[in-house]
């Protein structure tokens, strides 16, 4: 009897593992087929990405460093999406915030501000700039009910162009010929962790994403936002101040995305070249959905994506596979995980009989 039970439990465990590993295997196989079509050897590509993104110390440090801004963007998106606000304007918010921080920090450094104060000012500038760029969509949504998917996307294009313009016209570094902002000296940037090259932006990102997760799940404010997101009419019926909450969501979300821009500049880039646009925000959107808007899950997916993109950038130089291939992998993951989810639910329903 117990023998049969044990084999039953073992079978169940194997099936659960299959649901977890199956989609990943499918991604590797499908991605491998696409790589073959591109004329690259899938095995050497995957091995290269893993080696450069996770195993080699310098690669791992780059991966962890990049996680900082990505986690901050993810935090901003989690707040927005859980509250039913589609903030898709992250790229504009991010870039404008980065440019403002990049313009301000070197000036403060020249003026002799202490580094900690300079960094604080830079981070705050980024957050405020990001939030400011969401004011218009926020008011239009809260007061007029205008769809924020359209308005935030439009503001994003404007923001990216404006950031460009600011670098070329207003904040140009007069000492170089390339159009870029003044460079913040390394000693005035966000400190590195221990003896590595990992930026402390990683810590900011980790702390913020966990705080956001706790805010959304444990606080009254978070529940109010979730009620607005899940059923706005129930929110009105329960007496929540829906317009004020909506504006708060835009401000927090865009503020965190702006903070990500400041962390990127103050911790990693040091300056901003014209036409630079990493477009992180739209790449993070699928990640937070893969994590089901859960903060801890987001950390895992952001790490994987970060390693993938760092590895893919090296691979682009060495193997000739475009760097965008990391996005293809993310897209494949979305599809296979959605399918796995579907079959798992169907199986659960059948097993309840």
């Amino acid at each position: 009897m117990s023998e049969r039970f044990r084999t039953g439990a073992g079978r169940e465990l194997a099936i659960q593992a299959l649901f977890l590993i199956g989609p990943l295997l499918a991604v590797l196989i499908l991605g491998g087929l696409i790589l073959l079509a591109l004329g690259a050897n899938p095995f050497s590509y995957y091995a290269f990405v893993v080696e450069r993104g996770m195993l080699r110390p310098s690669g791992l440090e780059a991966t962890l460093t990049r996680m900082g801004p990505l986690l901050l963007i993810a935090s901003g998106l989690i707040i927005a999406f859980r509250a039913g606000v589609w903030n898709l304007g992250g790229d504009g918010q991010f870039l404008l915030a980065a440019v403002m921080a990049a313009a301000l920090a070197p000036l403060l450094h020249q003026a002799g501000w202490p580094v900690w104060l300079l960094l604080m000012a830079g981070l705050l500038t980024g957050a405020i700039t990001g939030a400011a760029w969401a004011v218009l969509p926020a008011l239009l949504r809260a007061r007029q009910g205008l769809n924020e998917i359209i308005t935030t996307l439009m503001m994003s294009f404007l923001g990216v162009s404006l950031a460009n313009l600011l670098v070329k016209l207003a904040f140009l570094d007069p000492t170089t010929t390339t159009p870029q902002t003044r460079t913040l000296p390394v000693e005035a940037r966000l400190p590195r962790l221990f003896d590595t090259t990992i930026s402390s932006g990683l810590l900011i990102g980790l702390v913020v994403v966990i705080l956001v997760h706790l805010m959304m799940t444990r606080t009254a404010f978070g529940l109010r936002l979730r009620v607005v997101g899940a059923n706005p009419r129930a929110a009105l019926h329960a007496g929540l101040a829906v317009p004020a909450l909506t504006i708060a969501v835009f401000a927090l979300s865009a503020g965190l995305v702006g903070l990500a821009g400041a962390v990127d500049v103050l911790g990693i880039q040091g300056n901003i070249r014209a036409d630079w646009n990493p477009a992180y925000s739209l790449s993070v959107v699928p990640l937070v959905f893969l994590a089901r808007l859960n903060g801890y899950g987001t950390i895992v997916y952001v790490f994987l994506f970060s390693a993938l993109s760092i590895g893919a950038e090296s691979a682009a130089r060495r193997l000739g596979v475009p760097g965008y291939f990391s996005l293809v992998i993310v897209a494949l993951m979305l599809i296979t995980f959605a399918l796995s989810d579907h079959f798992q639910k169907r199986r659960q329903r059948l097993s309840q009989i």
């Binding site: 444990r218 529940l223 979730r226 899940a230 009105l236 019926h237 329960a238 007496g239 309840q352």
Partner: protein, 543 residues
């Protein structure tokens, strides 16, 4: 069950108007067009269909009767291919079939007309009929329109093929859907709660149509929770309760007995023999004696709103502690605006005094002052369907102690309070963590009652509190309303069900085009007076 006395008695009086065509072919030995054998279907925590066996004979109107949640919709879903049985089988002409998708059901001759229209409103009737055809063919609209008219003539349906569906009444849409099912070659026609959206006249016409369709040899299945319709339209009645087939009344038995005997039998089947509660069909329940008139608790003066489908115009009334004040009227005359304006959900002018102090401001402020509102739109705004029952029970207390302290959720406190409310209000739920949207309509309503009647509530507004519920829940909810008034709360009962108002209210006023009539005491003349007011309001004083 007693054996029926001879089968030659005249039909019961309440069915006399509909003719009895077709009942002659239902003798033994006729094979059912469609049969269910031990069909079982489970959902999380619910046995929606429990080894149901049934057969639908040609030439018969077979009524499936049961309360909400008895398993009627699940049977329809399985017969129309939307869901599959977990056990048991469906037979067509005696052969087991698998209905994996709606097209299988249609191909095998089972046509279903759902409660909510499945026509595309922006298209014409003809265009709707071409949907589902082969995509590579260009539909011949003229020929199809001619076929529609020819097919409609037979059973006496009136369908204009080129009318846009949006311009049709609900009854006309239903006729078009029935016709579509017939033209697809259905031999078994399922009408799911077909009369729920119809006026009484339209419902009567539909009953006559069912009889004519059965006379052509069709097996008609009529699903309803209304006992009177089951008796009026059905040749054979099967009663469902808790997912089980609890009894079938054959045509000869049905015809042999009087309407009252049939009613008593069906009621005992629907609610079990241990029916300790009052006869649910009697509308003459003893009303509680008019309570000692308490102090005036809520004074409304000159309440008006702007905008919305029906603005309120200068509404004034006074509510006393311990009384139930009924608002009657035909739906859409400002009931919703009245409830929402009082609750603070929509802006209004005029003054509102609760216990002597003026209250204004939003929902939260009024709720703190002691005014609570049980909405009729339970799923739309009453609950957040995906959230746990426990969270829904504190949905209007977010951030308040003891459930939140310094902004942090006290999950254990909330869960304990929720368990107590689930117990006190008899909410049937697997657990307080179950998403509220998974509960049945009656239990969702109990969640709302538990939320609105506990705490500081002094004045409670009920909007259509028993709308769409089954009899058992209606009885329970009405008892709660009485109990609330008995505890000294002032109750405003807005309902479109006059019997409910007469059963519960101390005074009744009629709302009509945003204006409120003077209140009438609920005495022996109230029914006539209120009916006159309502029908006068619709301009049909001489009906």
């Amino acid at each position: 069950m007693q054996t029926p006395p001879g089968a030659a008695l005249p039909p019961a009086d309440d069915r006399a108007g509909y003719g009895r065509a077709g009942s002659g072919v239902t003798g033994a030995g006729i094979r059912p067009v469609v049969a269910l054998q031990n069909v079982t279907r489970r959902f999380p925590g619910v046995l929606a269909s429990d080894a149901v066996s049934l057969g639908f004979l040609p030439g018969e109107v077979h009524v499936l009767l049961g309360e909400n949640g008895a398993g009627k919709s699940t049977l329809v879903a399985m017969l129309s291919g939307l869901q599959q049985p977990d056990a048991g089988q469906i037979l067509i002409d005696g052969a087991a079939v698998s209905l994996a998708a709606p097209r299988d059901a249609l191909r095998l001759g089972i046509g279903t007309v759902f409660q909510h229209s499945m026509l595309v409103p922006s298209l014409s009737v003809v265009d709707n009929f071409t949907l589902g055809g082969p995509w590579w063919q260009r539909p011949d609209r003229k020929a199809l329109a001619a076929r529609i008219q020819a097919a409609a003539a037979g059973p006496g349906l009136r369908v204009d093929p080129f009318a846009s569906v949006a311009s049709l009444s609900l009854g006309e849409r239903q006729q078009a859907e029935i016709l579509r099912a017939l033209m697809r070659g259905s031999r078994c026609l399922i009408l799911d709660e077909a009369t729920a959206m119809l006026t009484p006249q339209e419902a009567g016409a539909l009953g006559a149509l069912m009889r004519r369709l059965a006379a052509t040899g069709l097996a008609v299945v009529f699903i309803t929770h209304k006992l009177q319709e089951a008796l009026a339209f059905g040749d054979r009645i099967t009663v469902l309760r808790g997912g089980r087939n609890v009894g079938m009344i054959a045509p000869d038995v049905l015809q042999a007995r009087s309407g009252a005997e049939n009613t008593a039998h069906i009621v005992s089947l629907m609610f079990g023999e241990d029916s300790r509660r009052p006869d649910p069909l009697s509308h003459d329940l003893p009303r509680p004696a008019p309570p000692q008139k308490g102090p005036a608790l809520l004074k409304v003066a000159g309440l008006s709103t702007a905008g919305g489908p029906q603005p309120l115009r200068d509404i004034s009334f006074t509510l006393h502690a311990g009384e139930i004040f009924g608002i009657a009227g035909i739906d859409g005359n400002g009931q919703k605006a009245l409830a929402e304006a009082l609750a603070g959900q929509i802006p209004s002018t005029g003054t509102l005094h609760l216990g002597g102090a003026e209250i204004n401001g939003g929902v939260a402020a009024r709720r703190r002052a002691g005014l609570s509102y049980v909405t009729d739109d339970r799923l739309g705004e009453g609950i957040v369907a995906g959230f746990p029952v426990a969270t829904n029970l504190v949905l209007k207390e977010i951030g308040q102690p003891p459930f939140w302290r310094r902004g942090l959720v006290q999950s254990a406190t909330i869960a304990a309070a929720a368990r107590a409310l689930v117990q006190a209000f008899d909410i049937r739920t697997p657990d307080v963590t179950t998403p509220a949207g998974r509960l049945s309509g009656g239990n969702i309503q109990k969640v709302l009652l538990a939320r609105e009647l506990t705490g500081q509530a002094q004045v409670v507004i009920f909007a259509k509190p028993t709308y769409g519920l089954d009899l058992q829940n209606i009885t329970a909810i009405r008892a709660r309303i009485r109990e609330a008034a008995g505890h000294g709360k002032a109750v405003l009962l807005i309902s479109t069900d006059l019997d409910e108002l007469l059963e519960l209210s101390d005074r009744i006023a009629v709302i009509e085009r945003g204006r409120l009539s003077p209140p009438y005491p609920n005495d022996d003349t109230a029914r006539a007076a209120i009916t006159r007011l309502i029908s006068g309001a619709t301009g049909g004083a001489d009906v």
